[in-house]
């Protein structure tokens, strides 16, 4: 394996792993706030038990997110020293501000997790707010760095290959940032919301512990608040992002949609397997003019194809297109199930104790992994779609990589480490689900 490939795989692995945990760190505090509020407001013991269980889950997941995030802050340099030598002064401001936000999150999470007995209920709940807000903020800020890699601004390249006229504020507030930050923040709510709701739907279906039915229903309801909101917002944000890509990163959009040739009335391809050699996409369902309409709001608009770009500047079309189909497909399914759930909840509003129908529970249980699947697939789209550039149009990934030749070794170590931790996490979740409910509060 070449050092470049190994470095890319190690970065993908580390980010992909970190994201699973970071998403919980962003979304779970919101669910905790709702549950704890329901306990404070209505004295709902099941809501308190949920908050206590989620609190334990968050403690473990946040810790792994924090340490794998630390690993990333080193790996940026360990794997991509030349990229960071160039980009550090530009994206550093986002990371520095993210550092403060993350600091606040860690401090108040410590207060929240260990403060159940030491803080008054209100003080405890307010600490939860600090966690949720700073968690969302640190996610939003770190996305600024990635958005800058997609749409680099705030400098020009000097004759020595280093950035000149550096404006870190312009880099921080780069035009790609707001949409990407919103899309990624809601993706964490969607991933965690559907994962949690699916877990409780599964527990209700099995019905092996009827004494916990109310507890599971309560958990499902809170999780679906996040899930339904995100499922509606995400397609809208995604559409705006695709319109941006049409203007700013046409090669990425072409790869996402497997658009090999520039054309007017470009079709929207649903599914299919693109073949970069022949420039054809097989087995796709094509909607005439669909892509032109979605990208530019006009059925006859011209959409750039990959033929506009030299072959060596194409991203991996198969990976980008397939990952995009997975993300959109999962999004559509989740939107449908979210709408079904919302309709069902509306019908049940008069009698809240009426159980949720079995078929809806099955649908929700099947959706358990879809939010996370969409999150990871969406990230693959944006990162693989940017290739071969690490800084779009400015620096190639191959030019940013470390000169160290033994990257395959560090990749092996990290693969083993992260695989082991994931396996153990599964055991931990099983252990947590079997714990007696904790309704008590000292």
């Amino acid at each position: 394996m070449s050092p470049l490939t190994a470095a890319r795989v190690q970065m993908e692995l580390s980010l992909g792993f970190h994201m699973l945990f970071a998403a919980v760190g962003m979304a779970m505090p919101v669910m905790l706030l709702i549950a704890e509020w329901r306990w404070m407001r209505y004295g709902d013991g099941d809501a308190l038990a949920l908050a206590r269980t989620w609190s334990k889950l968050t403690a473990v997941v946040f810790a792994i997110g924090a340490v794998s995030g630390t690993a990333l802050s080193f790996e940026l340099g360990l794997l991509w020293p030349r990229f960071m030598g160039f980009a550090g002064p530009l994206i550093g401001l986002a990371f520095a501000l993210e550092g403060y936000a993350f600091f606040i999150e860690a401090i108040f999470l410590g207060l929240y997790l260990y403060g159940w007995e030491r803080l008054s209920p209100r003080a405890h709940w307010l600490c939860g707010w600090a966690v949720a807000v700073s968690g969302a903020l640190s996610g939003v800020l770190v996305v600024s760095a990635n958005a800058w890699m997609q749409d680099p601004v705030g400098f020009r390249v000097g004759s020595d290959g280093l950035p000149l006229d550096v404006d870190p504020w312009a880099a921080l507030f780069n035009p790609a940032w707001p949409l990407m930050a919103a899309h990624s923040t809601f993706s964490t709510y969607q991933a965690v919301g559907f994962a949690a709701a699916g877990t409780y739907a599964w527990a209700l279906l099995r019905g092996s512990r009827p004494e916990r039915d109310r507890y599971h229903r309560e958990g499902l309801r809170i999780a679906m608040l996040l899930a339904v909101t995100a499922a509606i917002v995400q397609p809208l944000l995604g559409d705006l992002l695709a319109k941006r890509a049409h203007l700013r990163q046409p090669a990425k959009l072409a790869a996402m949609e497997a658009q090999f040739t520039t054309e007017r009335r470009a079709p929207l391809r649903i599914g299919g397997i693109p073949d970069p050699e022949t420039g054809r996409t097989r087995y796709a369902l094509e909607i005439p003019g669909g892509l032109s309409f979605l990208a530019a709001g006009d059925l006859d608009a011209e959409v750039a194809g990959l033929d506009e770009f030299p072959r060596e500047e194409w991203p991996n079309v198969v990976v980008t297109h397939v990952a995009f189909q997975i993300m959109v497909g999962a999004g559509v399914v989740m939107l449908g199930v979210a709408a079904w759930y919302a309709l069902d909840a509306w019908r049940r509003r008069a009698d809240r104790s009426r159980p949720i129908g079995r078929s809806l529970l099955v649908a929700l249980a099947l959706c358990t992994p879809l939010g996370y699947l969409a999150l990871e697939a969406g990230w693959v789209v944006t990162e693989v779609g940017r290739q071969p550039w690490v800084i779009y149009g400015v620096m190639r990934t191959a030019d940013g990589v470390t000169p160290i030749t033994s990257v395959a070794g560090s990749l092996a170590v990290f693969s083993a480490l992260y695989a082991g931790l994931l396996l153990i996490l599964v055991f931990f979740l099983r252990h947590l689900a079997r714990q007696p409910l904790d309704h008590a509060r000292a």
């Binding site: 473990v60 002064p89 401090i107 207060l111 260990y114 550096v166």
Partner: protein, 329 residues
């Protein structure tokens, strides 16, 4: 002071904070690993109780430090990343394992086998990580990162490990009482002696192999700080001996602070010796300015929050019956 000098000073302050707080958390892990005698389980519980609520916040000082390094001194960060590729990767493995093992033990299965396994991993990674961080600090001080067993780097690592263990034992003695306090007091005194021996060895090796660093350490102003450290060391041991734990805690912290300040003064003007001085490694002025102007805002939120965290969880030896004394907002 120049802008880059100011930011380097902020990084030094973050390093001191990380050593005093995060270092002691690693030290706690070391004492977990070395828990012995009839009160071994109580010792482990005291460690877990002491670091549980605060270790993640303390750990962020390292992230803060590394982010400031790549923002303000990108070339030094790139250089360190290449030359310390393996030591830093191992540091990361240590950091990931330490954090994961701590939470899996605290919240996971209470089965004794799982608890023991996580305890071992937690303790071992708490020992290896500060050793490797110390080793790396040694490497950027003398400009030698090629050989794993470079005596200067190894001894710096050993000293870092011993100082973490020392700080943790002193803090734990302050936070506990009765026989448990005696356990940690004894451990603190033993570690104090071991750290003294390691310091003398390190000074000897520095005299032979550290070239420029040694010259700087032995002339003012760095030599004055070294002298202050030499005077503080017996003072903190004496306070321990006399069971003045609060004073011992302050003096122990002061000792580590003075040591790091002395190192920084001797290292000046280099950031990573001999590749980059602080000025050579600095980012463009606009970036330094942005980092500097955001600093008061960031610290303005951070410091009161940290104060609150420690006020709630570190109320000292009279902190018993905590359930009755809730903090309200």
């Amino acid at each position: 002071m120049t802008l880059e000098g100011l930011l380097a000073a902020v990084m030094l302050a973050a390093l001191v904070a990380y050593a005093l707080l995060g270092g002691a958390d690693f030290g706690g892990g070391i004492w977990d690993l070395l828990s012995r005698g009839p009160r071994a389980a109580d010792q482990r519980r005291a460690v877990a109780r002491a670091i549980g609520p605060v270790w993640e916040a303390n750990h962020v000082w390292l992230i803060f430090l590394i982010v400031l390094l790549f923002t303000c001194f990108p070339f030094a960060y790139a250089w360190v990343s290449v030359d310390l590729f393996w030591p830093l990767h191992l540091v990361l493995v240590g950091i990931v394992l330490r954090g994961a093992a701590f939470v899996f033990r605290a919240y996971g299965s209470p089965a004794s086998m799982a608890q023991r396994a996580w305890g071992r991993i937690f303790g071992a990674s708490s020992a290896i990580t500060p050793f490797l961080l110390g080793w790396s600090l040694g490497a950027v001080s003398v400009g030698r990162a090629e050989t794993a067993f470079d005596p200067f780097n190894v001894l710096t690592g050993v000293l870092a490990l011993l100082l973490c263990a020392y700080l943790a034992a002193v803090y734990l003695a302050w936070e506990t009482d009765g026989p448990l306090q005696d356990d940690f007091r004894r451990r603190a005194l033993l570690t104090w002696f071991a750290a003294g021996v390691a310091s003398l060895l390190l000074l000897g090796v520095a005299g032979m192999t550290a070239g420029r660093l040694w010259d700087e350490l032995t002339t003012p102003p760095a030599s004055l700080l070294v002298l202050a450290g030499v005077l503080l060391a017996p003072a903190s041991a004496f306070a321990l001996w006399r069971r003045r734990f609060h004073l011992a805690r302050v003096l122990g912290g002061a000792q580590v602070t003075v040591l790091l300040l002395g190192w920084a003064v001797a290292q000046w003007p280099y950031l990573v010796y001999p590749a980059y001085t602080i000025t050579e490694a600095a980012a463009p002025r606009a970036t330094l300015l942005a980092a500097a102007v955001t600093l008061p805002f960031g610290l303005g939120v951070l410091i009161p929050s940290l104060w609150f965290l420690f006020a709630v969880f570190k109320r000292g030896p009279d902190d018993r019956g905590e359930a009755e004394r809730q903090v309200s907002l």
